[in-house]
Symmetry: C2
Subunit: 366 residues, 2 copies
């Protein structure tokens, strides 16, 4: 008899004592093997949201029954606009009220917002408890659940309050992608596309050739995309866990993207939508700096557009964009720094003069 | 000419890439040498409270002028009752409004409450910025500023939300102890006394012989006490940074102590007062378990009493004490675990039956 986990793939994040596996495959939510060798304890806390909970929480509780005698379910309100202190504190209140201790294992069941908040809660509850990411969106499976970045938003900036805190495992069940609205498939593809120009141009070729299969949620195509994205992210994070250098390249498109999200109010555009449009702008900035030619930027724009993503930014005004980007975490001493494409498949982080940034905003927004 | 830092002593906390020095001496707030080789950046943020700020903030800003072009001053309300999310968020609001970036250095100027909140703010602001502890109370100089434990309180438990996050330096200026109310000298001595029974009985002999000089703020005596306390703490933390074992012994007296603080409402008793009384109770528990004899517990009680500390706990009721202690971070699976004195100068962590705990509470409270 075939186990459901047969065909599942594992990608390791090599961080010494903090190393862990990403398990990618179908049917994993029901497969004990996907959760093998994880910490066992009296209690577990499953952090999810009101949308995901009715779909998957019972199945996760069932598969975890042999690890924990009791499972606490914490349902957060859904959406980026709730990635805030109120949601974080709801988790703390629930954990303390239920008597969770330092051995309690936190499971983050949902998309990037749930994963980021639950990860930060795990990092800070009693100064740190183990946690497992169970991402149920494409964006979370290819990016946010991997690498230990956790955060909540502040009204003055996205992801401003957070911690680097690695999970004990990431379990990416491809079948959960079936429940996603189409808009979120496109948003996830933005983060898939990202890995090509910054690290692996062959992967960009593959994505371009398979964009229709990916949008149609072909599981073989999605499995390959998730695995390759995680491999690249693992390679980057393994070298620079706390983003003192190389890791910043994973933020390609994010400086413009965060400004779009914050400027419109969190949740208006999905994070992946903002990043997609941000990549179009950052690629144009790379062209204007003479790093890549216009054809490459145009091709990238076509792939982003073919994923159903917006490629024109909202008109917030030049100065508002600059103001929003000056609080970006990559900014230093008031200078805005961007991830740029140095050559196809290779990124660089560089401060850019305000005048050039204004040109790009003017050309791509409004 | 003698530098003011002459005679200053350094104790190293050996944590590999996170190693740092504790500098102990007089006049350090005005001495650039105490702050040598620390990160320089455009901006600094000095986190303090409304009591400490008028005494020392200007001097700290002055000595830091060569490290940072601008200093942001954030004044928190004073007291343990403000060791909460509101104070933490006040820091985040101030840092973001001032455009602080990932190179901004945070200085915690004050006692244990300021140090714990500012340390957590540094741990989480943009996922971590460097910070320096400048403790101005005896309790902070001998304990809370050293070792990287940061936290805020939750209404359901003390220090429940926090992080392990090491400072880049601890600068303990003994002259700042002159501005302390006498009650806080006693509270600080509780944490000094603690190190004897758990790790160095000769040091307990020394404290006993010098209690009058310490209470009179004799700088030679205080200097020795701070240095020896930091040496012991450095030895413990160097072996177990994240409290997976040995480090828990530093919580001698804290399980009962935290229950007293939480039960009365934070701020009614000073932390050190609660710990002093908690040590009397934990020593009695050790006697009842047959670990040490009654004479040693009685002697410890006399030293605590001679420091001006209360040795009788408030009457909260047996069951309320048990309830409060069950959320202690050392508790596991509902069992309350205590730091006990195994023999003079040696501690052990052990779960204790509720019946015995009730006996100790009944004998020492009300």
């Amino acid at each position: 008899m075939q186990s459901a986990v047969d065909g599942a793939q594992r990608v390791g994040i090599e961080l010494g004592k903090r190393r862990y596996d990403i398990v990618i495959g179908r049917g994993l939510l029901d497969d004990p093997l996907a959760f093998d060798n994880l910490p066992r304890s009296k209690s577990a806390a499953i952090i999810t949201n009101t949308t995901v909970s009715p779909l998957y929480a019972q199945r996760l509780m069932h598969v975890l029954a042999r690890h924990h005698q009791e499972s606490l379910l914490v349902e957060l309100p859904d959406g980026e606009s709730h990635k805030d202190w109120a949601s974080l504190n709801l988790i703390f209140d629930s954990l303390l009220a239920a008597g969770a201790d330092r051995r309690t294992v936190v499971y983050a069941l949902g998309g990037g917002v749930v994963g980021d908040i639950a990860g930060l809660a795990a990092a800070c509850y009693m100064r740190g408890v183990p946690y497992v990411q169970v991402p149920t969106t494409l964006l979370a499976q290819v990016d946010s659940s991997v690498g230990g970045k956790t955060a909540i938003n502040h009204s003055l900036g996205k992801n401003m309050i957070g911690a680097f805190y690695q999970p004990a495992r990431v379990v990416a069940d491809l079948d959960t992608l079936d429940s996603l609205p189409q808009r979120e498939i496109g948003a996830g593809l933005a983060e898939v596309i990202k890995y090509g120009p910054i690290a692996d141009n062959d992967f960009l070729d593959w994505v371009e050739a398979n964009i229709a299969a990916l949008l149609a949620r072909d599981k073989t195509a999605l499995g390959h995309a998730v695995r390759r994205a995680c491999e690249i992210k693992a390679w980057v994070v393994g070298q620079d866990e706390r983003e003192s250098g190389l890791r910043a390249i994973l933020n390609f498109g994010h400086t413009f993207g965060h400004a779009i999200e914050a400027g419109l109010g969190y949740g208006r555009w999905l994070h992946g939508e903002a990043v997609g449009c941000g990549m179009v702008m950052a690629a144009d900035l790379s062209v204007r700096l003479g790093l890549i030619d216009g054809n490459y930027a145009a091709r990238l724009r076509r792939i982003i557009s073919a994923s159903g993503l917006p490629t024109r930014a909202p008109g917030l005004g030049n100065e508002r964009y600059l103001e929003l980007m000056r609080v970006d975490k990559k900014a230093e001493g008031g200078e805005i720094r961007f991830v740029l494409i140095e050559s196809p498949g290779r990124a660089v982080v560089r401060a850019v003069p305000d005048a050039l940034i204004r040109e790009v905003i003017a050309a791509h927004s409004g």
